[in-house]
């Protein structure tokens, strides 16, 4: 299978994530869309790594994974802080965003 297909898939996923961020209003869902974008990037990186014939891309994917994880932690903690202030632990109330 041609690596270009992977690139297309990655672009598609990235686009889906972008649209999701722009369209959805629930903080957690938006956040998940961002993660989708990051993972689409990983796919690109690995594919390019294959195309270019060096391992840099895979190493970068690792970095991205780590960063994504750190983002998850920070994001969740901020969202949790909001829940605490509002005295609710439900994810469903995370509709503060009106940007």
């Amino acid at each position: 299978m041609s690596p270009t297909n992977y690139l297309l898939l990655s672009a598609l996923l990235f686009a889906i994530g972008t649209v999701g961020v722009l369209v959805r209003r629930n903080a957690i869902v938006v956040f998940m869309c961002v993660e989708l974008m990051l993972n689409a990037t990983n796919l690109s990186l690995v594919t390019f790594s294959r195309i270019n014939g060096n391992l840099d891309g895979q190493v970068m994917a690792l970095f991205v994974i780590v960063v994504a994880a750190a983002e998850v932690v920070v994001g969740l903690s901020i969202i949790m802080a909001i829940f605490r202030t509002r005295r609710t632990a439900s994810v469903d109330d995370a509709n503060l965003l009106k940007y």
Binding site: L62, I65, A69, L76, M80, S90, D92
Partner: protein
């Protein structure tokens, strides 16, 4: 080279997956046909030890206690740590002292953060 076999090495895994999936899906789909069907309103309510179920908001919409989020966050951090340790230990001999120092520079802050978490009660299940 271990990796030279490429993706063909995964074929057995896929076969295994297909077999297991087939088995599981068959079980799940066949169950309603094999078993009897005797309608009873109470059976279809969610189970709350026999008492009348308290109204639930939505499917899966129950409240998730904050502590689970905390655990999830901690897991992510340490899991990522593992991601880095596996490649390191595989090449521990090649990386030598400098590699060890680098990994320690990586691990010690994590341990300090871990100690912070511990002291602040982040590891206590409340």
């Amino acid at each position: 080279m271990p990796g030279s076999t490429g993706l063909t090495a995964y074929i057995p895994l896929i076969v295994m997956f297909v077999l297991a999936a087939g088995f599981a899906v068959f079980s799940v789909t066949s169950a309603p046909f094999i078993g009897p069907r005797r309608y009873n309103r109470a059976k279809l309510d969610s189970y709350e030890c026999g008492i009348e179920p308290s109204p639930q908001p939505v499917v899966g919409g129950g409240r998730v206690p904050v502590a689970y989020y905390l655990t999830a966050m901690m897991f992510i951090l340490f899991d990522v740590e593992l991601v880095f340790l596996y490649p390191y230990v595989l090449n521990i001999d090649a990386l030598g002292l400098f590699g060890l120092a680098a990994v320690l520079v990586f691990l010690v802050p994590i341990l300090i953060a871990y100690a912070y978490e511990w002291r602040r009660g982040g590891l206590d299940w409340s």
